[in-house]
Amino acid sequence: MKSFWKLTAAECKLYFRFPIAAFFTLALLPMILLLLGAIFGNDPSPTFGGAGFLDTAVPGFIALVIAISAVMSLPMALTTYRERGILRRYRATPVSPAAVLGAQLVTQFAMTALGMVFLILIGKGLFHLKFAGNIASVMAAFTLGCLSFFSIGMVLAGVFPNTRAGTIIGNVILQPMIYLCGVTFPKEVMSEGMQQAIRFNPLTHVVTLMQGMWRGDAWAQHQTEVMILGVLLVVFGLIAVRVFRWE
């Protein structure tokens, strides 16, 4: 347990000392939120069912942070470690693989949560963000979203052949995910085919669940999302165990 916490502390330090990952997870979306907030404000509008623009954008953006952490930060961190022989160096010690990977997952989870906090602070501080849900439910939805998406990230970590290819593959997966999840472009402006694609995008379900919990929906209204994310977690988790490589 001691090695696990030491590893986690080291990973957290490294996260801030290597600012590129920190920029995408912690700074990019708050900056965009700031910009959009300045343009659209947060006045109640019938488009958002009486809520303001930010009241739906903030939980949606939290889902985007989860996707960025899961599809880019997490697999790229592990791919870099594998490529540079750092995983090999750990393998030559008695430290358990679970501690090495667990430290990486906990760090990514903590940083994603920090990204969420930044988004909420901007919304609350500058745009009178409204919150009608319950904190425990939002945290539960956030955790479920992270777990299922991190299992996808662990599969990618096993599949990425190297960091260069990983950057490309990661972006090819992440970009459409972000544009077709109903947060960046409203579903209503899209064609029938695009709306179909949105339904098959796993990120859409994180967005829907987060927005629902934010406005105070009951869990019973979101059984579909919970089920889909649960299945993703189990399926990708099992694949991840199979495809993971130390070198």
């Binding site: 090695s3 030491k6 330090k13 750092i86 090999r88 160096r89 393998r91 030559a92 010690t93």
Partner: protein, 308 residues
């Protein structure tokens, strides 16, 4: 148990390439044992089988009495490992790295002392990425020693280092051995094996070509020493063949090369040559003697020169 490492009939193939073929050897407690040979000879494969990082196709291995394939975890607690190719996160400091790796072991050596011993005390707060190649290699030695191991594995420890850094690393390895720790190393530098190792296994194409102390390997070769010097054109030196131990004399302009062995009374070849030159009042300059070395042993055993 008498041996720290026992290998019997080790074999490991990758696809169609035979990396290690029927290799057997024993390593004594407290010695620096070296495997020397060109790149691709099977040294790293062997050491990684001993470390439990690779699975042999067949053969028996015991390291400190443990089976590396079945008792991997127990082995990791007991031995120190420096890998040929590995890195650490660039943006961790030397102190943070050592503190982290200490936490993997139940009774680690106090790492600030270890850093001082390895000459890294003032680098404690420097990022790993900012260190020179020699300093990074010292950090890896520190990591290999952090669990107070009875046995350390050092794989191509000085590759890529400048001559000065290599020498100071050699001193460190000797200190480790003098502290009671057995050292098993691989190198493709013949001079490194010769100066550093108590015993050497010369490896070629996955097999042991010879195994002994460096001095015995060279002696067993029965090769001649050479004495080289410059003299004035015209001086007649052919009569040097009459000196005890001299087998033949070659001349190329001013340069004279005398081949031979120590005299019957044990005097080195150069002694007889110098006495003769003085007695005959032959003027000479730039005199030196070349001993046969491990490089010659390798050349003779394999019929080809070592390539880096």
């Amino acid at each position: 148990m008498n041996y720290v490492i026992e290998i019997r009939n080790l074999r490991k193939t990758y696809a169609k390439t035979v990396a290690v073929e029927d290799l057997s050897l024993d390593v004594n407690e407290g010695e620096i044992f070296g495997m020397v040979g060109p790149n691709g000879a099977g040294k790293t494969t062997t050491i990684e089988c001993l470390e439990g990082l690779r699975l042999p196709d067949s053969g028996e291995i015991r390291v400190l009495g443990l089976d590396p394939t079945r008792q991997e975890r127990a082995l990791r607690y007991a031995v120190g490992i420096q890998l040929q190719k590995s890195q650490l996160p660039d943006q961790l400091t030397v102190g943070e790295v050592l503190d982290l790796f200490s936490s993997f072991y139940p009774d680690p050596a106090p790492w600030p002392d270890l850093l001082a011993r390895l000459g890294l005390a003032e680098k404690r707060n420097a990022w790993f990425a900012k260190l020179s190649g020699g300093q990074q290699q010292r950090v890896f030695i520190a990591l290999a020693l952090i669990n107070r191991p009875r046995l350390v594995f050092l794989d191509e420890l000085t590759t890529g280092l400048d001559p000065q850094a290599r020498r100071s690393i050699w001193d460190l390895v000797r200190e480790v051995r003098d502290g009671g720790c057995t050292v098993f190393l691989t190198t493709h530098f013949m001079d490194e094996a010769e100066t550093l190792c108590d015993r050497v296994a010369v490896i070629d194409h996955g097999k042991i070509a010879a195994l002994d102390t460096p001095a015995a390997l060279v002696r067993g070769l029965g090769a001649e020493s050479r004495v080289l010097f410059d003299t004035l054109n015209g001086s007649d030196v052919q009569a040097l063949t009459g000196v005890d131990g001299v087998t033949r004399v070659e001349r190329d302009g001013r340069r004279v090369i005398v081949y031979g062995r120590p005299s019957a009374s044990g005097q080195p070849l150069i002694g007889g040559v110098v006495s003769w030159l003085s007695a005959q009042k032959v003027a000479y300059s730039d005199i030196r003697m070349e001993q046969p070395n491990l490089e010659d042993v390798f050349l003779q055993l394999t019929g080809r020169a070592m390539r880096d």
